[in-house]
């Protein structure tokens, strides 16, 4: 789960990382009074999870109260759906750095990535100036040792008081990383101000979903998703992605669902949604179909090949879902795996025509979607 910048900055501040003064605003009036509190000029930052907000015009500087009113009105009206603005004091920037902590899955260690040139995305930096990037790995069981943090600062080419401040910030960032089971804790840019202070310009914190049971402060909210169906599916723990095509996928098994997604594209079809109801969700066909039906698709395609997610149980679920929800569109089924013979009987008993081959099922769904267009 990714936190918004303002949430991540709260966490960073708590752990001792200097961040600019700021207030939150949900209306134009709130933005104006927030600007007065933090002082002018100020920066209006749209709280969205997408990267590249600066380039997209979602972050803007306001020099007067009138400008705050005009710009905030514009930002609240953006098609991206800006609900919250972070109104932040404008910092006098001398230099921008990059600092993050993530995981190295190959070496099985935490990894610090740092660079004396920040502000641009790290992938761009890695391509253009790979030699400028400092990587330092640490053992998660030991935690980040101060000597290693110092080593990062010196390898970045910093010295004196700036190096000391960076070490302190890096140690704090590690506390955040560890305390919040982070996949990524990132400060980009990390400002050095005209007065020589080191301050976090932006904050990214991505919490591992598998650690939700021990990271209870942050619950998913509607603002994190672009559609109601995505939000509801996430609350139910059903993997779901929203697209705008014709075929609703209701498949079991992540890898298989992704493969069906590819096969539809190969056949010239388009996907309305990706829904995966395998694993712990294989008994929830009714809920899964309900979510699929929220989408204006032309056909729902069910493909499964499960072991524990038994074919007969899933077939029963599909039949029950059809009876309860009376879908207004055709359902194509390709259900295989444990007890598949019984699954075929169940589907046939309900008047469905079970298909046994994934590619054939995909072609059938694409054909139905195309007929629907004509």
């Amino acid at each position: 789960m990714k936190l918004f910048e303002y949430q991540a900055k709260e966490v960073f501040r708590e752990k001792g990382i200097p961040v600019p003064q700021s207030r939150l605003a949900q209306t134009v009036d709130e933005a104006v009074s927030a600007g007065k509190e933090v002082g002018l000029p100020c920066v209006l930052k749209s709280q969205l999870l997408q990267g590249g907000r600066g380039k997209a015009g979602l972050i803007k500087i306001a020099r007067t109260e009138e400008e705050i009113a005009d710009i905030s009105a514009e930002l609240f009206g953006r098609p991206e759906g800006v609900r919250i603005l972070l109104v932040e004091e404008a910092v006098n920037i001398d230099k921008e750095l990059y600092l993050s902590i993530t995981i190295d899955p190959v070496k099985a260690r935490g990894m610090i990535i740092a660079c004396a040139e920040g502000g641009v995305e790290i992938e761009t930096l890695a391509k253009e100036k790979p030699e400028a990037i400092v990587r330092e790995r640490f053992d998660l069981t030991r935690g980040l040792e101060p000597f290693r943090a110092r080593s990062v600062a010196y390898d970045m080419g910093l010295s004196g008081d700036t190096a000391k401040q960076l070490v302190k910030i890096l140690m704090s960032l590690h506390q955040v990383f560890s305390r919040y089971d982070a996949e990524l804790a990132e400060i980009n840019p990390l400002f050095i101000t005209g007065d020589g202070a080191v301050v976090a310009g932006d904050a990214k914190l991505s919490i591992d979903d598998n650690s939700a049971f021990r990271q209870k402060e942050y619950r998913i909210t509607r603002e994190l998703f672009s559609s109601d169906a995505e939000y509801e599916a996430a609350v139910d723990g059903i993997p779901y992605l929203q697209f705008d095509g014709d075929i609703g996928l209701m498949c079991a098994g992540a890898g298989l669902t992704t493969t069906v997604y590819d096969l539809i594209n190969y056949e010239g079809g388009s996907i309305a949604n990706y829904l995966e109801f395998g694993g712990p969700n294989y008994r929830r066909a009714v809920r899964a179909m309900e979510l699929c039906l929220k989408n204006p698709s032309k056909v729902i395609l069910v493909v499964t090949f499960g072991t524990i997610a038994r074919a007969d149980v899933m077939a029963e679920g599909i039949v029950e879902a059809i009876e309860k929800l009376q879908p207004d569109r055709p359902i194509v089924t390709c259900i295989r795996g444990t007890n598949e013979d019984r699954a075929v009987k169940i589907l046939e008993g309900a008047g469905l025509k079970p298909i046994f081959d994934t590619e054939e099922a995909v072609r059938e769904a694409v054909a139905i979607a195309k007929r629907g267009e004509a």
């Binding site: 995981i103 899955p105 190959v106 099985a108 260690r109 935490g110 790290i122 992938e123 890695a126 391509k127 053992d139 998660l140 069981t141 560890s178 089971d181 996949e183 591992d208 979903d209 598998n210 650690s211 049971f213 021990r214 993997p239 992605l241 079991a252 098994g253 992540a254 890898g255 298989l256 669902t257 992704t258 493969t259 997604y261 590819d262 096969l263 594209n265 190969y266 990706y274 995966e276 395998g278 694993g279 712990p280 499964t304 090949f305 499960g306 072991t307 524990i308 997610a309 295989r336 795996g337 444990t338 598949e340 994934t358 590619e359």
Partner: protein, 295 residues
Amino acid sequence: MSIYIDQNTRVLIQGITGKEGSYWTKHMQDMGTNIIAGVTPGKEGQTVEGIPVYHSVKRAAGSHEIDASMLFVPPKFTKDAVFEALDAGIKKIVTVADGIPVHDAVQIRRAALSQKALVVGGNTSGVISPGKAMMGFFPYWIERVYTPGRIGVMTRSGSLTNEVTSMVVEAGFGVSTLIGVGGDPVPGVRFAEMLPFYQDDPETDAVVIIGELGGTMEEEVAAAIESGSFTKPLVAFLGGRTAPEGKRMGHAGAIVSGGTGSVKDKITALEKAGARVAERPRIVGSLLREILKKH
């Protein structure tokens, strides 16, 4: 011969008295797996399918020679259970848990690396040598998928493995050993680390890898082929060729981020190294036929 497990491997089950543990213990035995002891804290003295249960791995290891441990332990307790098995000197550990915290997974893999152990999983169906033994839960009774044979299979997925492997069998082949490394971002063992075992296995003629978007495991396989350390024919099927960037496609590990993990890059790396990449599951079978005829 097969790799990782066969009918002689002496297997411990951690979490043997639970619902999944006891259910799959019976299936593993029915398939021929040599299960010799089980562990559930507080349940010593009980038996499951005739297998004695101990309070701890240490106590089980005091009474039995153990080669491998199979974990039916919930994700939040998996790190502790893996450490317990590693501390008892067990070098092969399979965990099927789906939902292991990623920081725990990093520590599990680090501990395994430093003790030269192979921890398979989590978020996997496990390891199976059809007709011999399995650690995990596979529908081994579905013959059009789990027929014994001479093709090694490694996978990041569950249902997709059934789909692709059924195509291997449809093409007239069977499976020597199938290893599910799992769909998490930090799996205990990685594809490339298992290749040397397939390389040395006289009963494996070729290897199929079932990969997907995200991470660098497929690129590491390409590097192993390119370096000459793996020389048997290899066919890959990769899910997510048309997946959009930045979206997590079901598995926690299946996401293109930070400029790495795209299927396009993986295909380029594998083909450059001389591996064959199948665009669709069915083509895996025909590629194997084409390659193995030549050899």
